[in-house]
């Protein structure tokens, strides 16, 4: 292997080591109804849930910073609506109709996760 190739490879490994590596989201409920669990988002139709999210990194040397932009997009807005809230790391989830869909998580424009979203009918146990 040529020296320049080795150098580039080493540089790449170092660069990768300096970046956070997605390991999930920490979600703090701000207000509203619904909840996040290991199954994903559970919300009741017609109701809204406001949360604050923080991206977790499993790279012990690099965490996500404030300038890392988190976006969340619904696969089907007719079932669950996801909208940015009053701050860059806050989102509102709305149960638009009974059903199951998913929410795509992007960080800095890159797809990193998909969260299952279940909208249950009112009055259901």
């Amino acid at each position: 292997m040529r020296t320049s190739t080795r150098f580039l490879l080493a540089l790449g490994i170092l660069a990768a080591g300096c970046q956070p590596h997605y390991d999930g989201l920490r979600i703090r409920k701000l207000n509203g109804t619904g909840r996040f669990s290991s199954e994903g988002l559970e919300i009741v139709e017609g109701q809204a849930l406001a949360v604050e999210v923080t991206a977790l990194s499993d790279n012990p040397y690099e965490d996500y910073e404030e300038f890392d932009i988190i976006e969340m997009h619904s696969f089907n807005e007719h079932i669950v609506l996801v909208a940015p809230a009053d701050d860059i790391d806050r989102f509102v989830f709305v149960g638009a109709a009974v059903g199951e869909s998913a929410v795509e998580v992007r960080i800095n424009g890159e797809d990193v996760d998909t969260i299952t979203a279940i909208v249950s009918p009112q009055g259901a146990p």
Partner: protein
Amino acid sequence: MRPNVRQCFEDCCSGPTGRYHRAVWIDLHSWQWNRPRARVATLTFVAVLAACGGSESSAKTIGELGNGEFVYSCVNPNDGACDTVGSAVFPACVLLGGEFEMDYILHETDAVDDDDFDLFIYVESANQSFFAGNGRYRADRVGFAAMLAREDDQVVDIIHLDIVEAEGIQVKDQSGLVVQGPVEIPRGATVTLDVFASAFGCSPLGGGGPVTASSREPLVATAQGGPSVVIHGEEVGATKVTVGMAGFETEIDVFVTVGPARRKKPGEDVGEGESDESGSDDAGSSETAGTDETAGSDDTTAGTDDGTSGSGG
């Protein structure tokens, strides 16, 4: 120096005029106060304030995200949120089938990404099967549902409201007192009554809705439903008026007492009753007052105690 128009405007005139509020605020915000256009802005502001009249038909509450206030406005006279005289109270629940308007006043401008100059915040129902409409809403389904304050694709605030079915109704007169006994109406006069729905744990119960009314003896008194109940005294006598709302009905005893016999003509010294609610406390006075023509004394309160007592002898 620019006056603090915004705060004043919010205090003085919120609710149904929220659209004006935004327009005036945006205009004033982007103008220099010492420029001639500011005078036009001031005139506009004053005109809108004048158009607002009282603000007792709307009530505010802080949104669940705390960035501003949701403004609830009554559209029906029998909306429990506007039941109290002089001030409205944000409803704890909304009656199934009830209608209302909802607006939003933003306080935390940092909560929106957009700059203030083209700020347009609107309220949207989270699910149209619960709150149907846009700006003016109708509660279509029992449950617990959210309304969203939005700016473009952002949700700035949320509020959840209970939609409930009525568990009873109450009839009140125009001074807000519950009608418990018989209603006395001078012949020829009209009384307007409001019917309010009630539900356990929901005070006040917002929304209101249409009221039905029918008279057992329309020759004695006619009754008309609608936003309120309007009872007109036709002929001396007694009848029962049935009023209904939200699936409930109640009966009111109505006594039509002696009232103004005829209109006062110019130059004629005939008393004319103007009151639409009798102050008489004795329903039996109708029997003693067959001589309604004699009510034409100098006294102009025919149909009341004063007018009838003198004619009995």
